[in-house]
């Protein structure tokens, strides 16, 4: 057994943060949880543009920002605050060590995840309508691939399972393999641990 390292220590880490982490951050603040938590650690790393593991560059898209703004308004936050919150996320991306503004990802939704995969149905039965694909994860995944992110951090780890991903650590780490780019999908708790320790290596089993 040997280890393989996905991110070299000290290099700029391109981090794509799933929408549920921002929501969790706000829920935690509302509940008065100012102490250490995975969401707080990730948001703070994005704000500061650095972590103990190295410089942090936020990778985000206009689609993600627009969706998050929608989500926040639907969760009863004031539209003006939701808009300012998302606009500042874009600013953090621009202020990052590589100065990458939000991406404009066209098309997308091409990466099926556990949630978006269509169920088996009978095409000859007109009563059965194929379920609408849930593209929540797809948009995050598309942004991460388009923006060549090293990591997606999410609380919704299970929904990113797909035939193109290889589990590195059950429930905590998987490697999504696209045609030209691989993305490490980490549960938020694992992402916070990795950002704190700088250890992004996993054992490879086999020859």
């Amino acid at each position: 057994m040997r280890d393989f390292e996905i991110i070299v220590h000290g290099q700029t880490i391109r981090l794509c943060v799933d929408l549920n982490i921002w929501v969790r951050y706000l829920l935690g603040r509302r509940a008065g949880r100012v102490g250490p938590s995975a969401a707080n650690a990730i948001v703070e790393a994005v704000q500061r543009g650095r972590s103990p593991a190295g410089p942090i560059q936020l990778i985000v898209s206009y689609t993600m920002l627009a969706r998050l703004e929608d989500v926040l308004v639907r969760l009863s936050f004031q539209p003006g605050d939701a808009s300012a919150f998302c606009s500042l996320m874009g600013a953090f991306a621009r202020r990052g060590p590589s100065g990458i503004p939000p991406h404009m990802v066209l098309g997308g939704g091409t990466s099926p995840t556990a949630e978006s995969r269509m169920l088996t149905y009978n095409p000859y039965d007109p009563k059965v309508v194929p379920p609408r694909a849930d593209d929540e994860d797809g948009r995050v995944l598309d942004t991460a691939v388009a923006g060549q992110a090293h990591i997606i951090a999410t609380f919704n780890f299970a929904d990113f399972r797909s035939p193109n991903s290889q589990v590195l650590e059950a429930g905590r780490a998987q490697l999504y393999q696209a045609a030209h780019h691989n993305v490490l999908i980490l549960h938020a708790n694992k992402a916070a641990e990795c950002l704190a320790s700088g250890d992004f290596s996993w054992p490879i089993v086999g020859p």
Binding site: L27, V71, S76, Q78, E136
Partner: protein, 117 residues
């Protein structure tokens, strides 16, 4: 009562001020007053560093320093925004929820809000 303070600037800077003033629906004098307030509010040692950067720094050093200033302002506004948001969304989750329950609630609330979108 206010006073007038005049300053000599290059044509290029004057044009930038006029353009930004127009964009923000203010007068060039208001922009100049805002810039002066910001400059004077800086600690003296920061003003000295700024002067040193202006005269001795490279373009990339100046850009990096301004980026950090901009980031600090962004963080301050983010903090203010989050503080305001703490008072809303009051019925989302119980105040006594554990960290794990908050993690789970964040996933469920995000997913359901997206489905309604």
């Amino acid at each position: 009562m206010g006073r007038t303070v005049s300053a000599y600037v290059t044509d290029e800077l004057a044009e930038s001020v006029a353009l930004e003033a127009k964009r923000e629906d203010r007068s060039p004098a208001q922009i100049a007053a805002l810039a002066l307030r910001f400059f004077i509010a800086l600690p003296r040692d920061a003003r000295v560093s700024l002067a040193a950067l202006e005269s001795l720094g490279t373009e990339s050093e100046r850009r990096l320093a301004l980026n950090e200033v901009a980031r600090a302002l962004n963080i301050a506004e983010f903090e203010m925004t989050c503080r305001r948001m703490q008072g809303h969304g009051s019925t989302l989750v119980s105040d006594h929820a554990s960290d794990e329950e908050l993690d789970e609630a964040a996933v469920i609330l995000t997913r359901s809000a997206l489905k309604r979108a």
